[in-house]
């Protein structure tokens, strides 16, 4: 029995046929009242739910009957196992039912516009973009990346070769992004696996060498190249890299060594030949410069020695301000202490005679003068003429203009500093210096 069921979402007025009832309540008036059979909202609901319930119950009943009929052969009494089995079957049916439901579009996927950015950020595709210096442990890692990393590098899940290969690829990726320190770390990890693939290990060494190169660690790079060639004797790439590193280090002997090895592998290699030539030239230049420097130093030393010998032999006595009575004199003893005399140390002039810086002291006024170049053969009076002669202006402290050439007495202090000895101005400096009482202090006769 099917009853037509109408479920109305809202309340609507229904017009039914109405009975007109006369109610004689009022004398002689006729009132017409229309009674409607209408449902109110709430009632509507009650009606609806009642109807649905009825339907459900009936449906459930129907269905149950149906199932029982179909699946269970009309069986009505159940054991627990049978129930469990029924549950399972029902689950399956539900699954297949869901599958049969139409597939809807997945929302939240990557769009045409944003797929590139999304991909770059997704841990599956993105490398560890970390700051230089941060270790892998410090940076916050996307758990997905971490999971992937563990999968890739876990020795339990992979053979050493696979792990090493993965580290190599990881390192190469870092290298491309110019993250050289991380690249080195990756290659090192790969090498730690000590896998048995020599070629792979050689590549790891070579790659690590390349990364070291970019970091400026040329020495480490060369060590890695050495290992690479040990593992793979015809590894020309590694040899060439070692040549370049050695060149950067200006280590020319090493450049030769590596060029020789490379040219054994490939005698026609022009680059290696050129590199070797360059190294040869540089080395020659270095050696020549070293020799030249050595020669110049020698020359200087000899000249100094000659000077000292000349002074010694001339009978001039030097007094050292530091040490009295030392027999060997060095050039530093001759270095003038007086600031104005700096830079005009005693030396030979073209005619081979000694030229001294001479200091004139004026005890009366506590003043000094320096004659920077006083050849030994000059007479003292000539220099005095220049300083105090008629053409020369009087010294600023000589207010009374007392210091005139013919008025001057020249003395020197004898070595024990006890007395002043008179000097004849007509003598040459040489004669004065050779006076046995005279001592040259600080290379400056005073």
């Amino acid at each position: 029995q099917h009853s037509a069921l109408y479920i109305f979402p809202r309340c609507e007025l229904l017009f039914h046929e109405s009975k007109i009832e006369e109610k004689n309540q009022w004398p002689n008036t006729t009132r017409v009242t229309i009674h409607y059979n209408c449902y109110t909202h709430l009632e509507e609901e009650k009606y609806c739910s009642k109807v649905v319930k009825t339907r459900e119950t009936s449906m459930a009943e129907e269905w149950k009957d149906k199932v029982i009929q179909e699946k269970l052969g009309g069986k009505k009494d159940w054991t627990d196992e049978e129930r469990a089995e029924l549950c399972r079957q029902l689950d399956e049916e539900l699954e297949s039912h869901i599958d049969a439901m139409g597939k809807t579009r997945y929302k939240g996927g990557w769009t045409e516009e944003n797929w590139k950015e999304q991909m770059a950020e997704h841990p599956l595709f993105a490398p560890y973009i970390q700051e230089e210096g941060a270790t892998q442990a410090e940076a916050p890692i996307n758990p997905l990346s971490e999971g992937l990393a563990q999968l890739k590098f876990d020795p339990d899940h992979n053979t050493p070769e696979e792990v090493a290969q993965n580290y190599k690829e990881e390192g190469v990726l870092q290298f491309k992004y110019k993250k050289y320190r991380l690249a080195v770390a990756n290659f090192s990890e790969g090498l730690k696996q000590k896998c048995s693939d020599y070629d792979l290990n050689a590549q790891l060494h070579n790659n690590r060498a390349a990364a070291h190169c970019h970091l400026g660690n040329y020495r480490s790079a060369i060590k890695d190249c050495e290992k690479a060639v040990e593992l793979k004797t015809d590894y020309l790439k590694a040899v060439v890299r070692a040549v370049d590193c050695a060149t950067k280090l200006n280590s020319w002997d090493e450049v030769f060594h590596w060029c020789d090895r490379g040219l054994r592998l490939d005698p026609t290699n022009q680059k290696l030949k050129t590199d070797r030539l360059t190294a040869l030239k540089e080395k020659k230049l270095l050696e020549r410069n070293a020799r030249k420097m050595a020669r110049d130093e020698n020359k200087k030393a000899t000249e100094e020695q000659n000077l000292i010998n000349a002074i010694k032999n001339s009978g001039v006595q030097l007094g050292s301000t530091v040490l009295k009575g030392s027999s060997s004199i060095s050039l530093s003893d001759l270095e003038p202490c007086h600031p104005a005399a700096q830079g005009s140390r005693v030396h030979f002039n073209e005619s081979g005679e000694l030229v001294w810086p001479v200091m004139l002291l004026y005890p009366e006024h506590h003043e000094t003068d320096i004659i920077q170049e006083f050849p030994e053969s000059d007479h003292i009076i000539d220099h005095l003429e220049v300083i105090f002669g008629k053409e020369a202006a009087p010294a600023p402290w000589d207010t009374e203009h007392k210091y005139q050439v013919n008025n001057l007495h020249v003395f020197f202090e004898d070595k024990e500093k006890t007395k002043l000895c008179k000097v004849d101005p007509n003598q040459t400096l040489q004669q004065v210096l050779r006076d046995p009482r005279y001592h040259v202090l600080g290379g400056t006769p005073g």
Partner: protein, 375 residues
């Protein structure tokens, strides 16, 4: 009777025999090579030679040493060398090369010596050279081994390998292989031109270079940047620096500011080779001009003051003669093309001998006479 003894010896030399038997037999064989009769006896028997060859890698070191020693003596005689090279069952050159290549073989020096002996006679040299070139380790490989100090870990110095290589320079093909521009052979040898540790090696290398200088076509390459031979030839002839700054700067870098303890090459034979090589490079005009530009005259001048060996002095003067003159005076581009009439040649030789004996030089008049002749 003798043949029986010899046959017995062959049996005793068998490689799979008892150790002491082998050792004694080998020693006997080695001792036989000490006498000319014994040597020719052994040479005549290919089976003995083969047997000895098989013992060179014997586990007993004295046996292998005696075997090598025997081979040295045999190869030193031309007939012996012929015999060894003629062996069909073993290729002696290949065996020796293997010994040299083996870093652990203790008697590698003997191997070098044997090869050097084999290649000394010119007609045999070509054969040895061909075999080496056909083999896996060619001349290039041997030179590479030579260029590594302490290649052999058992103490063999391989100096004689240099002698072997210098024997190849007798052959034009050998020289050309050494100077191949695409390869890298000659350049490796150059660094040993002042190798103080071994006169033998130094002499052989310089001899090789000297021979190579006879190939006129290669002069531009030899004197160019790639090889830069001229300063290397002069360095052993140069002494402590006596030049002023300007003169120094005009020289090649190798020769500038030489230290006070710089020693010249002590052996006059080697100095002779160096001077002869320089002479060869002067044959062409271009060569002379390069040498003048490098101002090597200065070095030669100082060397002349120091030199005492007459032959070397003569060579020095000849060289300076060519360099001092202008190209107009010389008048000839290529000196090797000058035909020297036989009687003039004789006179020159006589004159040289006289010079060598007495040290007097009347070269100028003779040269003028020659110039007159040629006009």
């Amino acid at each position: 009777m003798l043949m029986d003894t010899v046959n017995e010896l062959v049996q005793l030399l068998a490689a799979d025999g008892r150790i002491d038997v082998k050792s004694a037999a080998c020693m006997t064989a080695a001792q036989l090579t000490g006498t000319p009769e014994g040597l020719s006896l052994l040479t005549s028997r290919a089976d003995i030679l083969t047997a000895i060859l098989h013992l060179i890698r014997d586990s007993e070191i004295y046996t292998s040493k005696d075997a090598m020693r025997a081979l040295i003596n045999i190869s030193a005689e031309e007939s012996g060398a012929e015999g060894l090279l003629a062996l069909k069952d073993v290729d002696i050159t290949a065996e020796m090369v293997k010994c040299i290549e083996d870093t652990e073989y203790p008697h590698a020096d003997f191997a070098c010596g044997i090869l050097a002996n084999l290649s000394k006679p010119k007609h045999l040299c070509q054969r040895v050279f061909d075999r080496i070139t056909d083999g896996p380790t060619k001349l290039e490989g041997l030179v590479y081994i030579l260029s590594q100090i302490d290649y052999n870990k058992k103490g063999a110095k391989l100096h004689l390998l240099a002698s072997f290589i210098s024997n190849f320079s007798q052959l034009a093909a050998g020289r050309r292989q050494m100077m191949d521009k695409d390869g890298f052979v000659l350049q490796r040898l150059l660094s040993f031109m002042d190798y103080k540790e071994s006169k033998g090696r130094r002499m052989s290398i310089i001899a090789t270079v000297h021979n190579c200088c006879f190939e006129k076509k290669y002069h531009p390459w030899l004197m160019g940047e790639d090889v830069d031979l001229v300063p290397r030839l002069l360095l052993p002839l140069a002494g402590p620096d006596t030049f002023n700054e300007e003169e120094n700067d005009s020289l090649p870098f190798d020769l500038q500011y030489l230290p006070d303890d710089k020693e010249r090459e002590p052996d006059p034979e080697i100095r002779k080779l160096l001077l002869e090589a320089l002479m060869q490079l002067c044959i062409t005009r271009a060569g002379r001009e390069v040498m003048r530009k490098q101002n090597i005259y200065l070095i030669l001048r100082e060397h002349h003051k120091w030199e005492e060996d007459r032959h070397c002095i003569m060579l020095n003067e000849d060289l300076v003669n060519l360099l001092i003159r202008t190209e107009d005076e010389i008048g000839v581009e290529d000196l090797s093309s000058v035909e020297v009439p036989p009687d003039m040649a004789r006179k020159f030789v006589e004159h040289d001998m006289e010079f060598l004996m007495t040290g007097s030089s009347d070269l100028n008049s003779l040269t003028e006479a020659m110039v007159e002749e040629l006009k």
